[in-house]
């Protein structure tokens, strides 16, 4: 092991991966053009080989990290011998060079898996070639531009360790991986879309084959965004979870367009409309993942998360422009096959609702993108420096969210193609009634804000919609069969995974919406100075700063305050917010303490230093109503997505006559 340096080994692995993926492109393209089965098979082999090479590269880096091999440049720059083992493992993606290797590895895994399971259709050769092309970029950058395996000489004694914010919470092991799985997952439908354009089969084929992949990618992206919010909440110290920082926005943009795409796909499957629209949407989604990475890795916009400048920025910019030109060019070239000969029976129909929802989601994408790059645009033209912050994004997106919530409730109840009928009108009346009841109850409790009232009303609207959907599906089946309600519900859920899964997801979104409303509109902040031993009151609770405490581990030195939280004398919890200094780093980072409760959180952060002789502590205290509902809602969305991905149970032969017709919205 010590003889052959790990550095050269890792370099070799990356270069091998690059060579294999290049062959995947060349062999795949030529094989596709000439319809040469042997070339295509060898291109598929290239996928497996690339995956093996990338796995080797990752393994080599992990070994280097775990054995503190500081002769490898990345380890010397990013790792530290005193870090706990899990921190060393996640150091792989704690800095730019390593996180690109992670992305390349995950992508190679998807490419290999796709090569293995993709059905042998005319689309496959080109789809795999496009994947190979993307893979070449993601291996090329770490292999050539930002090599992490360079040899450092003389070998340093130790390294600085990863950024403190990236080693004080377990979420570091989860969120970046989820995010990359999301981005990479969305590469597959993009590759198929390009294949569809190249092979002139721009119909529904490419979407049907990638439906699962799209949902998986979207699911991971959603989970990543929620996980990121939770991570911010637990780590950053200001009691919030979303600041509309550019790096957050750029993960949000492809999510918005992917959501629009998922729904647009349904319209294309049912009605064979919106071909061009969906092609453009998935292109936009993939391009946005590249653009996002460019914006945050290049220092072009200021962001708390931006790390590194150097050759990565320009590389991503060039690739982004190439992808844009290539994909838009393809769409333009095949425009005549792609343009829609569409027809619409009635605007107030499922198609209409989905289209309207798409417009809202895209408007939100535009607003967020504009706000994020607006300072850059202004500076390019006038040289002035301006700021576009959270208040803008809140005000620009909230009305659109209300529209989306509204459509989410009414859409599933609308029939395909037909105009609304009597059943629908009565359902809508029930939903409106529910919304009114919800708003009235909220107002009775003293809620006066427009957006909170609207959110609550629309949540009731959505709950009513989901209830009516289920009733509409279950009741007729109970009526004509001999089974009980529970049995019918079960078999409905098992035989309609996609539909039932989407109901779960929509329900999760409602919970999310309420959580966001509660925690932003009714949050209470205070900065309190408490002497040790004294008690102060905050929002009906008693906070007692008991004493200071110190902790010392190999990784960090921390000073904090022990705070007892009680309500009317009954103790609730003891919280220990602290400030940490990590070995090898100057920066101090706080670890706030959170008391999670179903209806509100109490969040404590240390705002002052806690010196040895100090008799007091300054605490930032936040009371956030319903913030837990956000994490719960996100979890429900993830569950629903998982459920929708599972295959339907084969329908048991029905002994009675023809099965019941779905009254509304199948």
């Amino acid at each position: 092991m010590t003889g052959m340096g790990l550095g050269p080994l890792g370099n070799a692995a990356l270069l091998l991966a690059l060579a294999f993926s290049l062959w995947g492109v060349i062999g795949g393209a030529i094989g596709a053009i000439r319809r040469d089965a042997r070339l295509l098979t060898s291109a598929r082999m290239a996928a497996y080989a690339t995956f093996l090479a990338m796995t080797a590269a990752v393994a080599v880096m992990e070994i280097a990290l775990l054995t503190d091999d500081f002769s490898v440049s990345y380890v010397a720059e990013t790792s530290r011998s005193t870090s706990p083992t899990w921190v060393k493992v996640v150091t792989l993606w704690a800095a730019l060079e390593g996180s690109l290797v992670l992305w390349g590895w995950l992508l190679s895994g998807y490419w290999a898996l796709l090569s293995f399971v993709a059905p042998n259709t005319p689309l496959r050769p080109w789809a795999l070639t496009v994947m190979a092309g993307v893979q070449t970029f993601f291996v090329g950058v770490p292999a050539i531009l930002t090599p992490p395996f360079q040899t450092v000489s003389p070998i340093p004694m130790d390294g600085p360790g990863p950024n403190p914010l990236l080693q004080n919470h377990w979420m570091m092991a989860v969120h970046p991986v989820l995010m990359y799985l999301g981005f990479v997952g969305l590469t597959v439908p993009f590759a198929y879309a390009m294949a569809a354009l190249i092979t002139r089969l721009p119909g529904s084929e490419w979407m049907t084959q990638t439906r699962r992949w799209t949902l998986i990618g979207w699911g991971f992206l959603t989970a990543a965004i929620i996980a990121g919010g939770w991570w911010s909440y637990e780590v950053l110290g200001w009691g919030g979870y979303w600041a509309w920082d550019p790096v957050e926005n750029v993960s949000f943009l492809p999510w918005l367009t992917a959501t629009a795409f998922i729904h647009g796909v349904q319209v294309q499957e049912r009605r064979r409309m919106l071909k061009a629209w969906n092609l453009l949407l998935i292109t936009l989604t993939f391009s946005l993942t590249l653009l996002g990475t460019f914006l945050t890795r290049s220092g072009v916009v200021s962001s708390v998360h931006a790390f590194g400048d150097g050759p990565v920025g320009p590389a991503f910019l060039v690739f982004f422009l190439i992808v844009m030109a290539f994909s838009l060019g393809l769409v333009a070239w095949r425009w005549d096959q792609v343009r829609d000969r569409a027809d619409l029976d009635h605007p107030v129909s499922r198609e209409g609702a989905i289209l309207a929802g798409n417009v809202l989601l895209l408007a939100m994408t535009f607003a967020v993108l504009l706000g994020t790059i607006f300072p850059l645009i202004v500076e390019a033209f006038t040289g002035d420096k301006v700021t576009v912050g959270a208040p803008f994004f809140d005000q620009a997106s909230l009305p659109l969210w209300m529209g989306v919530l509204f459509l989410m409730g009414v859409g599933p109840l609308l029939p395909w193609r037909r105009a609304p009928d009597q059943t629908l009108r009565s359902n809508l009346a029930w939903m409106l009634g529910a919304a009114a009841v919800g708003a009235a109850v909220a107002a009775a409790f003293g809620i006066r804000g427009v957006y909170p009232l609207l959110t609550i009303a629309l949540s009731a609207w959505n709950l009513a919609s989901l209830t009516l959907l289920i009733l509409g599906a279950v009741v007729p089946r109970v009526r004509i069969g001999t089974r009980s309600v529970a049995q019918v519900l079960r078999s409905y859920a098992f035989e309609n995974r996609r539909r039932f899964g989407s109901m779960i997801v929509h329900f999760g979104v409602v919970v999310l919406a309420l959580g966001i409303m509660g925690s932003s509109a009714y949050r209470l902040d205070e900065q309190i100075r408490v002497d040790f031993g004294a008690t102060t009151t905050f929002a009906g609770l008693e906070l007692t700063a008991v004493d200071r405490f110190m902790e010392r581990t190999d990784q960090r030195i921390s000073a904090g305050a022990v705070v007892d939280v009680a309500r009317n004398g009954t103790p609730l919890a003891t919280l220990r917010p602290r400030i940490n200094t990590f070995a090898g780093q100057q920066m101090t980072v706080p670890t706030p303490a959170v008391l999670y409760r179903p209806l509100y959180d109490i969040y404590l952060n240390v705002s002052s230093s806690i010196g040895p002789g100090q008799e007091f502590v300054v605490l930032r205290v936040v009371r956030s109503p319903l913030v837990t509902w956000i994490w719960v809602g996100g979890f429900i969305v993830a569950l629903g997505t998982l459920y929708a991905l599972t295959p339907n149970r084969r329908r048991v032969a029905v002994t009675s006559r023809a099965g019941p017709e779905e009254p509304v919205g199948t």
Binding site: S298, G299, V300, V301, M324, L328, I373, P375, K385
Partner: protein, 183 residues
Amino acid sequence: MTRVLIVILVTAMLGGLFLFGLLRGQPDREVESARLNRSVPMFELPVYPRYQPEFGPTLDVAAELSDRPRPMIVNFWASWCGPCYVEAPDLQEAWQRHGERVLFVGVQTQDRGKRAEGQAFVSRFDLGFPNVIDDDSALSIDYGLFGVPETFFVRADGTLMYKHTGPVELELLEEKIEELTAS
């Protein structure tokens, strides 16, 4: 053909914009002062003991400048600020050369309660020009301070000629003082 043109146009526009962004570099530093070419706030703040024989318990900048109108250099620092330690000797040197023609004032800010540390800073570099204490940082907010160290070059008429973010070097000080005293 038009479609291809649209594609090219969109790609070119985006490319141009982002290329500009890349070339321009870090966006955040070097935000121009909002007070450029406008009059700066005058202030009266307590000085450190070593300056009290000459100035009394507080330094009243307005009075100083009305007594003897001249340009002013206001330098903001804090005891925890590394680059402030780097630039202090340069400021001291510049004051020794031009202290007659230009009023040098050091302001300790964002350092609530840190009197001992401030005293140590001033003694360490044996700063001959008056250093005042901006305990609640109200003056730095008035000056629109982005961070420490920052140095403000004020003309004799009280308007801001130039704000420097980050540590100043002797060369730059000389250059700006020439400009200040030329008018």
